[in-house]
């Protein structure tokens, strides 16, 4: 079963623009993770944010977490064509991670 739900399902932007993806979940969590998947490849872990953290940065990535709203957002700044991929959030449930359906991001050069 899926725990996180990403929004939007698909996003298309121009290179240089920022991309924001959202994730909502239902139950209490210890942490939330974001992953990226390029076509034909496995998922790659991007960032983990703990339930007691509100914001985390890694390079051009910024993740926020609002546990009162049970939601998280992933912001990619100054997007590049190479950022084209699917992005998934994952939340821990029953001591393992459950993934959402993902947001398909297309960055046009």
């Amino acid at each position: 079963s899926q725990q996180g739900e990403e929004d939007p399902q698909a996003l298309s932007i121009q290179e240089g623009e920022n991309a924001t993806m959202n994730c909502s979940y239902k139950t209490s969590i210890n942490n939330l993770q974001w992953y990226r998947q390029n076509s034909g490849r496995g998922l790659v872990h991007l960032i983990l944010i703990r339930s007691n953290e509100r914001e985390k940065h890694s390079g051009r990535l910024r993740v926020t977490l609002d546990t009162s709203k049970k939601s998280s957002s992933l912001l990619i700044t100054a997007s590049r064509a190479a950022d084209t991929a699917s992005y998934f959030c994952a939340t821990d449930e029953k001591n393992d991670m459950r993934f959402g359906a993902g947001t398909r991001l297309t960055v046009k050069p």
Binding site: D96, M97, R98, F99
Partner: protein
């Protein structure tokens, strides 16, 4: 760079045949996951192991699927008999524990005719 290795990368076979997929987790990772990914269902957790013991296989159809870890360097997922609806990409992932970052292999793309 340590990575999870899955074999085969692609498999095409006829329905009714047995399919075995293999995974070599990253050395030192004691948690191993099997996922199935389809367009319709997304990424589904089939089973996961901790210290080679199965902890959760509730997502796996047990009448035809089986998952094992004969040793710390090998995890297997078998389907017998296979059906067309099993066509999907099957991913293996490993990690230090169940709610920490997972490292994924590049998957086995399975087509059952």
């Amino acid at each position: 760079d340590a990575r999870v290795t899955q074999t085969p990368r692609h498999k095409v076979t006829e329905m009714g045949q047995e399919v075995t997929m293999r995974c070599q987790p990253i050395l030192g990772h004691n948690t191993v996951f099997w996922y199935r990914q389809t367009m319709m269902q997304g990424l589904e957790l089939l089973a996961y192991f901790r210290n080679r013991a199965p902890l959760d296989d509730s997502g796996m159809p047990k009448d035809r699927f089986s998952a094992e870890m004969p040793d710390a360097t090998l995890a297997t997922l078998k389907i017998q008999p296979s059906e067309p609806r099993d066509s999907a990409v099957y991913f293996c992932a490993s990690g230090l524990n169940p709610n920490q970052p997972q490292h994924f292999g590049d998957g086995t793309r399975l087509s059952i005719l």
